[in-house]
Symmetry: C2
Subunit: 193 residues, 2 copies
């Protein structure tokens, strides 16, 4: 049950069994059906969720009402509007919604602080997770600016091979920063090559 998340958190910082026991004792298991909103813009984000099973999207809505998907989180990924929400006590700008039936382990600001108080080395693990998210986001920013729609789509397929079977195409388009119609044309062009 806990193996997935324990492997994930130990990836850059090895923890002993007592530390992992504390870690596991503080988190909450949660199951949620598909199409559930976990967070709405305007609310405070009071969780960090580790995806055990399922798929989630995190998105903004722009001035014209169009969605821009920032992140897909599938098995073994973390999702939260960690950014400002929790530490700055500002309401979130983003939406988080399940796309499939999901199960999660959840930390709240309180349980996370309790974790750091009882086992301070988790600060380090979360720092490194954060660093990796930053790296991924920076690379995504570069790709968004520098690459064509076709390149972005092809690289998306390589990087997330299962995701294109699991989520609707217009979500992928939104993630890549292109229109759903144009993605369809890109796919057509690729298919006949």
């Amino acid at each position: 049950m806990y193996e997935q998340i324990n492997t994930n958190i130990s990836r850059y910082v090895p923890f002993d069994s007592e530390e992992l026991r504390i870690f596991n004792s503080l988190m909450e298991y949660k199951q949620v059906p598909k199409k559930t909103m976990l967070l709405q813009a305007g609310e405070m984000c009071n969780f960090e969720a580790f995806v055990i099973k399922g798929c989630v999207r995190k998105y903004y809505i722009d001035a014209n009402g169009s969605e821009v998907i920032l992140q897909f989180a599938i098995e073994n990924a973390w999702v939260s509007d960690i950014s400002f929400s929790i530490y700055e006590h500002k309401p979130s700008q983003v939406y988080i919604e399940t796309l499939e039936d999901c199960s999660f382990f959840i930390f709240t600001p309180e349980t996370k602080e309790a974790l750091f108080a009882q086992a301070p080395r988790f600060e380090r693990a979360f720092r490194i997770l954060m660093q990796r998210s930053l790296a991924v986001t920076q690379e995504r920013l570069f790709n968004t600016i520098a690459k064509s729609a076709t390149e972005k789509y092809v690289e998306f397929l390589e990087q997330y091979p299962t995701l294109s079977q699991r989520v609707a195409q217009h979500y992928i388009a939104s993630y890549l920063g292109i229109s759903a119609e144009f993605l369809s044309k890109v796919r057509h062009k690729i298919a006949k090559t």
Copy 2:
């Protein structure tokens, strides 16, 4: 001398004077003239620099040889290719160059580890700094996808009012993900409004 950086690092985690003494004792002061490359793609990034004075740009070079600026770092900002470089021991993909004569405080992987060993609460401060960088980068990604060139430029001017006087326009264009020529046209259009 140390006040700037001590204020910065204490912003989310208050440190006592002994902790700050350790912090200050481990960092190295460095002055560098303008147009100095601090990091080239292919190298390992072995520093994290806090800008005391001056301005730095961090950029990728895309497949066509065009630059894409990821970050400007001015006074009180941190700059590094922290992302993969240090913790994954992979060579960097980015370039970091001074645009003005600069002074920095520098941490290396070794001095940073020594800091964490001697004063573990700095893990927390760096975790939160990292979180804030992630928030900024995510918002930038959203702006890049969802906003027009004019909107992006106007918001850039609001957000970094001094920077447009300090760096060449084509760098700002590169940061915004538009061509230098088009930025010039955007400015023309704004000016006559």
